[in-house]
């Protein structure tokens, strides 16, 4: 707080800065605390887990819980299942979302806002309200207990978001670029592929991450439609580290940490691609 009391014109600014960081650190601590606590749970012994009063951090950390979960073939399989489900959902959403969003952003047609609202309305449906009919439907067509049952429902709920984000992104791109490409001899598809998509890359990556996270974290549909370890994703597999008699909290905590890591890595990788100002220099800036 020394800087806050310093004389000169900058003192007020400095004080604001300090306030800003105090708030920021406080905010981050509050929101990250559960995650930190879960991490702590995953690296202590079982007896430490149940100590009262609770210990803050005990040395040395142990990897027992991690060994337990990775020794479990069902958990390894669940990680793979999650990756497949979230990956395919993301690809489908991006492909159809990009095409639909481009059309909505560029074409002039009647009732555009009605179309947009209708698209959004799809995600208004409470999942629990449609889960029973969907279950019956998937059973009838033989999709139950397959990846597709979850991928289809995930796509239905993620696509509206994908389209909305991409529409606002495509609208930002100068129309002149596309016209320049068309005059230069590109077909509509070529203009889209060679000019619009590369420019929309930051938006596409942002959308991809959000969709992936949504599908990766999805629990309700996966728990309902998938019955055995060969198709269940990690969100469903985590509670399985429990028997009728005991719950292995350490293993569940470790599994939770492991499930979070791919998302963190994903965001870190793509963060580089989410550079703003990629369009700088296209038109007068």
């Amino acid at each position: 707080m020394a800087s806050a009391t310093a004389s000169g014109s900058g003192s007020k600014g400095n004080f604001n800065m300090v306030l800003f960081y105090v708030f920021l650190i406080g905010f981050v601590l509050v929101s990250l605390f559960p995650l930190l606590w879960v991490f702590k749970m995953s690296i202590v012994t079982r007896s430490d887990l149940f100590q009262s009063p609770v210990t803050t951090l005990v040395a040395p950390p142990i990897a027992d819980s991690y060994n337990t979960i990775f020794a479990n073939p069902d958990f390894r399989r669940a990680l793979l299942n999650s990756t497949i489900i979230a990956g395919i959902t993301t690809i489908i959403c991006l492909f159809f979302g990009a095409i639909a969003a481009y059309a909505i952003a560029r074409l002039r047609f009647r009732l555009k806002s009605v179309v947009m609202t209708t698209i959004l309305a799809i995600s208004f449906f409470p999942a629990v309200a449609i889960i029973a009919p969907l279950f019956l439907l998937f059973s009838k067509v033989g999709l139950i207990n397959t990846y597709w049952s979850v991928i289809i429902t995930d796509v239905v709920f993620a696509l509206p978001l994908t389209i909305w984000i991409l529409v606002s992104f495509f609208k930002e791109l100068p129309k002149d670029l596309e016209e320049a490409a068309r005059v230069d001899g590109a077909t509509t598809i070529q203009a889209f592929r060679k000019v619009i998509v590369p420019l929309a890359a930051p938006g596409v990556f942002t959308t991809a991450i959000l969709t992936f996270i949504f599908a990766w974290n999805e629990f309700l549909f996966a728990a309902t439609f998938l019955f055995d370890a060969s198709t269940q994703p990690v969100t469903v597999a985590i509670p399985n580290f429990a028997t009728v008699y005991t719950v292995d909290y350490g293993a569940q905590a470790a599994a939770s940490v492991v499930v979070t890591i791919p998302l963190v890595i994903l965001v870190l990788i793509f963060q580089r691609r989410i550079v703003s100002g990629l369009t700088a220099g296209a038109v007068k800036g």
Binding site: D176, A181, R182, V183, D184, A282
Partner: protein
């Protein structure tokens, strides 16, 4: 290279918003033609219809002998330069310029050859590997031109290409585009709202207003013989002055009466007018008309340059009280007010000067219009000191206030 022809081309938005009205135009091969007009006059729409970026509501557009109405832009073989350059930001300069050629699956060596050649012409060889964001406005403009040149298209279309540049660069690029056109001689259609650009660059100017072509002529002809009040006021800077006048018979000839000044109308001018309109100028006698005179045709009566003029036009002097004097070094602009009864109220003039037509109660209308004279630098005009000005009677134009068409 090809000629471009517009036949009754019309653009209607929605039900009844007419952007371009029955436009007819024959653009010759290799001609530099400029569409000029205030914003919203339909000049850009006309260009975009030629480019294929806008549907044609009715009429036909020919490029060469081919009707291109239903051809997509890529099949029209035209190149376009956009107002905001529209360079592809994810490609470097070389890729930007070669993009169109690459789309046509042209041989890589040939693409390189053409890009290098165009880069040399535009002196942008040094930054072929840079991305557009690393370039200045002028450099980006050159790249945009380069992208058009490498195509070797049938026609260049330019949509206000210089309006994003600063004043000095604009003048420089103006000359360069002119030089470029002389060198490659491709039919060029250039859109601008700046009449100076139109005057300096065009072989022929097309003046548009409210989607209607007002006049198509060479810059000089348009300047000297505007078809109507709008063209007269739009072309030329500072703009033409307009005054209320009456035509009277005198000694078998005609005089134009402005306030107390009687300006004789030469027999020759009267004859030309009759020839052009196909009717006797006598029909306008004793009617209120609009007299137009350009600033350079009003001279300080006390300077040498006025002497010759004064000899011939003894009667055509007016007394004025300068309100503002701007010295340009080589000449002076003298602004003075006309008396209230001489002021003209014409919609198109009001539009040009940015006033609302029929702006009755405003302070503006309580006095006359501001007029400007471009006088010799030797003039001793002083603010607030009454002085005499000579009008060059042979350069005076007359307009019908009803139709706004030129009589003289």
């Amino acid at each position: 290279m090809a000629e471009v022809t517009l036949e009754d081309v019309k653009k209607v938005y929605g039900e009844d918003v007419v952007a371009v009205q029955d436009m007819n135009l024959d653009i010759e091969d290799g001609e530099f033609i400029v569409f000029v007009g205030p914003s919203g006059c339909g000049k850009s729409t006309a260009l975009r219809m030629i480019a294929g970026l806008e549907d044609i509501s009715s009429g036909k557009v020919f490029i060469g002998d081919v009707v291109v109405n239903d051809l997509p832009p890529r099949d029209r073989d035209i190149a376009m330069v956009f107002q905001n350059y529209a360079l592809y930001p994810h490609m470097n300069v070389r890729e930007n310029m070669g993009f169109a050629l690459k789309l046509r699956k042209m041989d890589k060596g040939e693409i390189d050859r053409r890009v290098n050649e165009a880069a040399k012409v535009l002196s942008i060889e040094h930054f072929l590997d840079r991305k557009p964001k690393a370039l200045s406005g002028g450099q980006r403009q050159r790249v945009a031109l380069g992208r058009a040149i490498v195509r070797e298209p049938k026609a260049f279309l330019m949509d206000e290409p210089l309006s994003n540049l600063d004043a000095k660069l604009r003048v420089q690029m103006r000359t360069e585009i002119g030089k470029l056109h002389n060198r490659i001689g491709v039919t060029t259609i250039y859109v601008t709202h700046d009449q100076t650009e139109a005057m300096t660059m065009a072989d022929r100017i097309v003046v548009l207003k409210d989607g209607i072509v007002q006049q198509v002529d060479s810059p000089q002809k348009m300047y000297e013989n505007p078809n109507n009040v709008f063209v007269a006021g739009f072309i030329g800077s500072p703009a033409m002055n307009f005054l209320k006048a009456r035509l009277e018979r005198e000694n078998g000839g005609y005089v134009m009466v402005v306030g107390g000044t009687r300006i004789p109308l030469s027999r020759e001018a009267a004859g030309q007018s009759e020839e052009r309109r196909g009717s006797d100028i006598g029909e306008y006698v004793d009617k209120d008309l609009v007299l137009g005179i350009r600033p350079e045709h009003i001279e300080d009566a006390n300077v040498e340059e006025a002497a010759a003029l004064g000899e011939a036009n003894q009667a055509s002097t007016i007394e004025v009280e300068p309100q503002v004097i701007e010295s340009m070094g080589s000449e002076k602009y003298v602004y003075f007010e006309t008396s209230r009864d001489q002021a003209v109220r014409l919609d198109s003039v009001a539009e040009l000067t940015g006033q609302e037509p029929g702006d009755g109660g405003s302070a503006e209308s309580s006095s006359g219009d501001m007029m400007v004279a471009r006088v010799s630098a030797a003039s001793q005009a002083k603010r607030g000191e009454k002085m005499r000005m000579v009008l060059d009677a042979s350069k005076v134009r007359l307009f019908d206030p009803e139709t706004e068409l030129a009589i003289l």
